[in-house]
């Protein structure tokens, strides 16, 4: 059992998905989804512990060794990402029970939970596979399930949003598969480790270096499209705004994170840091886009009147922080990006879930409808404030830890300018979070007494994330240790 854990991590959610669909009833389907998510969470934690003590786990599917067969390769980075995905999925599935019942019609619940499990399966598969074509397969699994989950949103605009996401996602996936195909043509292999060895050889031989460069370009654009880096983020705001609340909370915390992971995997493991940064000067492409993302998208967030949309734009800005860390190309910078993966998952998950609570009670998340909610729904709004503090980067929250490492990484390279933009970004976060707080706490509404606090089944998962965002803000030792050793693994620096 424990020997086959890497395979089970992916296979169990995958097999449970059709079971959930076949059960075709809301309750049992939820039980199956919850069981699958919590199993995956347990397995992921177990794997992370094993990686921390024993090092990289290599698992050959069907016993076929790497160049011929497909192998799962779990190192520090993959293990950490699987823990992020599964922890959010485990909390999110608890939250989904009531939220989904409220927002999605009864006959589609089982399908929703099936799609949810498939999405978990796809994201986990991307994180642990060691084969680039396998990456594409899992990418499609996770994307298709995501489109269908978004389309279940009760606002009719959810359909257009899902459709646009489908087009853009497919373009991205196509680019990725073109990149992979070109690499395969040049090297004759699909294994990541194999590619890492062959690409420099092919490049050095001088034949086909253009093809490799083109492959690199397609992968850059494809992956940045999937992770919604400015200006390829255009599909994201609508998708997040109109998706069911439970989906938004879960997806905002997981799917773009896995894509950031994929970015690191391609550029640091497959192509190698030297090739990506020294020869292709990836930082020249990523850093300006990341900086613009932080500033422009935070500004746009300030002007939004729908809080889910506001948070969606804030997500694009936050992705900017992660990509910024990666584009610094140093251990500290990459570690900052990885820490922010986890930290942002916690805080943005909590913020979206708090908005789900609001949606559940008042049926709207427009700012002007949130008057007086500080009194009417004190726990929900307190959760929003708690996670909001993290977003701003107040000390003792995870947001502070992220910014601290990011600023340190920037300063270590003498980039005062970058550090300053990170600071400005925090101030802008203060403004857009405050906009919501101001209306909720300082304005009154007449029907204050009629609105009830959200049910516990929504509040407990939300607060679990808020509490985690404080816990890991105060005790940052574990996460930063994991992130730094993950960054060292990626950059090939042995501690």
């Amino acid at each position: 059992m424990s020997q086959n854990l890497p395979a089970l991590l992916v296979v169990v959610p995958m097999l449970l998905a059709p079971i959930a669909a076949l059960l075709n009833r809301s309750g049992p389907a939820w039980v199956v989804a919850a069981g699958g998510s919590w199993f995956a969470f347990g397995a992921a934690v177990q794997l992370l512990r094993r990686v921390m003590t024993e090092g990289v786990i290599v698992y050959s599917l069907g016993g076929w060794a790497a160049p011929i067969g497909i192998e799962y390769r779990i190192d520090m980075v993959s293990a950490f990402v699987t823990v992020i995905v599964t922890s959010i999925a485990a909390v999110g599935v608890i939250y989904a029970r009531v939220s989904v019942a409220d927002e999605i019609s009864e006959d589609r619940h089982a399908l929703f939970y099936a799609a949810f499990l498939l999405n978990v399966c796809g994201l986990l598969g991307i994180a642990i596979t060691g084969d680039v074509f396998n990456v594409f397969v899992f990418l499609e699994i996770s994307s298709l399930s995501a489109y269908s989950m978004i389309a279940l949103g009760h606002d009719r605009r959810a359909l257009t949003a899902a459709f646009q996401y489908l087009i853009m996602g497919s373009v991205g996936a196509t680019f990725i598969v073109i990149g992979i195909g070109l690499l395969f043509v040049m090297t004759g292999t699909l294994g990541m480790m194999d590619l890492a060895q062959r690409i420099p050889e092919v490049w050095a031989s001088g034949e086909g270096d253009r093809t490799i460069a083109v492959a690199f370009t397609f992968l850059t654009v494809g992956v940045t499209l999937k992770l919604a880096l400015f200006p390829l983020h255009l599909w994201l705001p609508n998708a997040y705004t109109y998706a069911p609340s439970a989906v938004t909370g879960y997806m905002a915390a997981t799917s773009t994170k896995v894509m950031v992971y994929l970015l690191m995997r391609f550029f640091f493991t497959v192509f190698g840091e030297q090739f990506s940064f020294d020869r292709m000067q990836l930082d020249m492409v990523l850093m300006p886009l990341a900086l613009v993302a932080i500033l422009a998208m935070s500004l746009v967030a300030i002007y939004q009147t729908n809080v889910k949309r506001l948070l969606a734009f804030s997500s694009v800005a936050q992705i900017g922080y992660m990509v910024l860390g990666i584009s610094l190309g140093s251990v500290l910078g990459v570690a900052a990006g990885i820490i922010h993966l986890f930290n942002h998952a916690l805080m943005k998950g909590a913020l979206f879930m708090a908005m789900g609570c609001v949606m559940y009670r008042i049926g709207s998340v427009r700012i002007e409808d949130m008057k007086g909610l500080g009194k009417a729904m004190p726990w929900t709004m307190a959760a929003f404030v708690g996670a909001g503090l993290s977003m701003i980067g107040v000390p003792l929250t995870v947001g502070f830890i992220s910014k601290w490492y990011l600023v340190q990484a920037a300063l270590a390279q003498g980039s005062w300018f970058v550090a300053a933009i990170v600071m400005v970004g925090s101030l802008m976060a203060l403004i857009y979070i405050w906009k919501v707080i101001e209306v909720a706490y300082f304005e009154r509404r007449e029907d204050e007494d009629e609105i009830q606090e959200a049910p516990l089944s929504l509040l407990v998962p939300t607060w679990a994330l808020v509490a985690a965002s404080f816990w890991f803000g105060i005790d940052a030792g574990t996460t930063s240790q994991v992130a730094i050793s993950a960054a060292e693994t990626l950059l090939g620096v042995m501690p």
């Binding site: 459709f163 646009q164 087009i167 853009m168 373009v171 991205g172 680019f175 253009r210 460069a213 083109v214 690199f216 370009t217 397609f218 850059t220 654009v221 940045t224 499209l225 200006p231 390829l232 255009l234 599909w235 705001p237 609508n238 292709m280 000067q281 020249m284 492409v285 422009a296 998208m297 500004l299 746009v300 300030i302 002007y303 939004q304 009147t305 734009f313 107040v394 000390p395 003792l396 830890i401 601290w404 600023v407 300063l411 600071m423 101030l427 203060l430 300082f442 940052a476 930063s480």
Partner: protein, 611 residues
């Protein structure tokens, strides 16, 4: 346990207890916390008192260290400088809580302010909020004072802002809300500057110790601010905002009159004094501070003399007093810095006393404007007497506290040959007498009879004021005992003939000037004179300054302001067009355009990589 517990812990626990208790128990708790804290601090100090030479200026004890992100934090560091402020803040918190004890008991008996309405002048309806935030606020001030490193300082620096703003909002009027929000922004900016400065400093020196900054960076030859570099400048601005440096002082005069009567007492005690403490620790001997301080003693006098709201007058007076402290820190000799911190100590008590007396007036009458008040000595004789004691103390009458503290700074200025500074300070001292020493009690309690008939404020207010007044006199009469608490060794005796004579002359002629102006101003029309003597004096002095200085400054200010606002508006407009809800960056795009962007990025990447 007592004796090594960080003082802020006690206050934070106290705040939780206050939040969940009511009535008599709560009253007991709010009074007990500062007293237990004081015992705790005495036991901390007692450890050193046993060995007399243990606490020196350089001897410090660190009780607690934490590791965070590779830096060592020292949340509880004690030396003689922090200990003095520690005692001070405990005393201030104790007085403040006695003064605020009646909150929650309903509007005091005999109060004329019945038409309270939306604007809860007294803040009675927000009693719990005020007690809890005052407790947290006092705890944050103590945390900042005992912080041994900049990170800890930053945390408490921001907590100071966040906890104190509720004391302003407690007034629950729209104006108080707006004021509080501006106050919060200013202080959060100060915190951000502090953190940036500290990080840059840590980067350059590798240490986050909260110590002498100017010296760290350019050695001890005193090369001024220019040599200290950007980190020191950021820290100085951060401290300066909280200390009310010129142009950053407006939050003081804006926020203090807007808070509740009891809230202002707390506000006046902590924030600015924490800043003075930080300046004394990090920037002692920085030449620029002498001139900044002198300017601060000087310019508020004119505003204070013209201002009608008596609590705002006290706000200006606060800046003026801090000016003396800042200048003392800038001079930087042992006596000057001793003088600065001693004056901070005395100022918290006498300024607290004055704010308390004006708060008592506001509580009982609902008014605080000079023109609305007057003649209250008939119904509030005790308050009037105590206010006069405070006025005597701030004006530095012999036998009162400021006489023995401010003089140290003045003497140090002479000893260091800063004659011009000394002259300015002398002028400012006379100004203190005019606007705080005479104006406050005169317009509130004497002058024309406003016809208000009220009662003495609640007993707890009187007790708090009496204790404050006794302290003012005790410090003034027994300076020797007080001096032993000061951080540096020195030999100074305030009561020599020359000093007493100089001060008495200054005060006599200052008072004479006031009387002359009153008399000459009253002379033309006796009947109306009684009514408007508030204005007569200032119509003669006031326009003179307003038209010449104020007018020019105002015009330049208006011009610069409108130019800047125009720029801001045009930038905001552009941002709005680009980022607003329907701006190109925010609106939903058709799928085709999205794909166009993808193609564009792909093409440019290809070009970039291939060529």
């Amino acid at each position: 346990m007592l004796g090594s517990m960080p003082p802020f812990v006690l206050f934070f626990i106290g705040a939780i207890v206050v939040a969940v208790t009511k009535g008599t128990i709560r009253k007991g708790v709010v009074l007990a916390v500062p007293l237990i804290g004081l015992v705790n601090l005495f036991m901390t100090a007692g450890a050193e008192v046993g060995a007399p030479s243990a606490i020196g200026e350089s001897v410090e004890r660190v009780y607690l260290t934490l590791e965070l992100l590779g830096y060592t934090l020292q949340p509880y560091r004690v030396d003689k400088l922090s200990l003095l402020f520690g005692y001070l803040f405990h005393i201030a918190a104790f007085l403040g809580f006695i003064y605020a004890l009646h909150l929650g008991d309903g509007t005091p008996d005999g109060s004329v302010a019945s038409d309270v309405g939306e604007d809860d002048v007294i803040g009675d309806s927000t009693a719990t909020l005020q007690h809890v935030s005052a407790m947290l606020y006092a705890g944050s001030a103590l945390g900042a004072v005992f912080a041994g490193d900049f990170i800890t300082l930053f945390v408490f620096w921001e907590l100071l802002a966040i906890t104190s703003v509720f004391l302003i909002w407690a007034r629950s009027s729209d104006k108080a809300y707006a004021t509080g929000f501006r106050y919060l922004i200013i202080h959060v900016v100060s915190g951000v500057l502090l953190l940036s400065g500290a990080l840059m400093l840590a980067h350059q020196t590798g240490s986050i110790e909260f110590g002498h900054v100017a010296g760290e960076l350019h050695g001890d030859e005193g090369g001024g601010l220019a040599a200290a570099g950007l980190p020191a400048l950021l820290l100085l601005i951060a401290f300066g905002i909280k200390a009310g440096f010129p142009l950053a002082h407006n939050w003081i005069t804006e926020a203090y009159p807007e808070s509740t009567p009891t809230g202002t007492v707390f506000l006046s005690a902590f924030t600015t004094k924490v800043a003075v403490y930080a300046l004394a620790r990090s920037f002692g001997g920085l030449d620029e501070l002498i001139w900044i301080g002198t300017a601060m003693t000087f310019f508020p006098i004119f505003f204070a003399v013209l201002e009608n709201d008596l609590r705002r007058v006290l706000g200006y007076s606060m800046i003026n007093q801090i000016g003396f402290m800042v200048a003392g820190i800038g001079i930087g000799t042992a006596m000057a810095v001793n003088g600065a911190v001693a004056h901070a100590f005395a100022d918290v008590i006498f300024k607290g006393l004055l704010f308390m007396s004006m708060g008592a007036v506001l509580t009982m009458t609902g008014r605080s404007k000079g023109t609305d008040l007057g003649g209250l000595y008939k119904t509030m004789p005790l308050t009037a007497t105590l206010c006069i004691v405070g006025a005597g103390a701030i004006s530095a009458f012999p036998m009162f506290s400021a006489f023995v503290t401010k003089s140290m700074i003045m003497v140090a200025a002479i000893e260091e040959h800063h004659y011009i500074v000394w002259l300015f300070m002398l002028f400012a001292s006379a100004g203190v007498l005019e606007h705080a020493g005479i104006k406050i009690p005169f317009f509130a309690f004497f002058a024309h009879d406003s016809g208000i008939r009220t009662k003495e404020p609640p007993k707890n207010m009187l007790v708090a004021m009496t204790v404050g007044a006794v302290l003012c006199v005790l410090i003034g009469v027994f300076p020797g005992t007080f001096y032993t608490l000061l951080p540096f060794e020195m030999d100074y005796h305030p009561y020599d003939t020359r000093h007493v004579l100089t001060q008495l002359q200054l005060l006599c002629f200052g008072a004479l000037g006031f009387i002359m102006l009153i008399k000459t101003g009253v002379y033309p029309d006796e009947k109306r004179a009684v009514h408007i003597d508030a204005e007569v004096l200032y119509r003669k002095l006031g326009p003179w300054i307003v038209t010449t200085v104020g007018g020019t400054v105002g015009r330049i200010d208006a011009y610069v302001r409108s130019a800047v606002m125009e720029l801001v508006h045009s930038v905001l407009g552009a941002l709005d067009r680009l980022h607003g809800e329907v701006g190109p960056l925010a609106r939903s795009w058709p799928s085709g355009s999205m794909v166009l962007w993808v193609a564009l990025l792909l093409a440019s990447c290809l070009l970039f990589y291939l060529f």
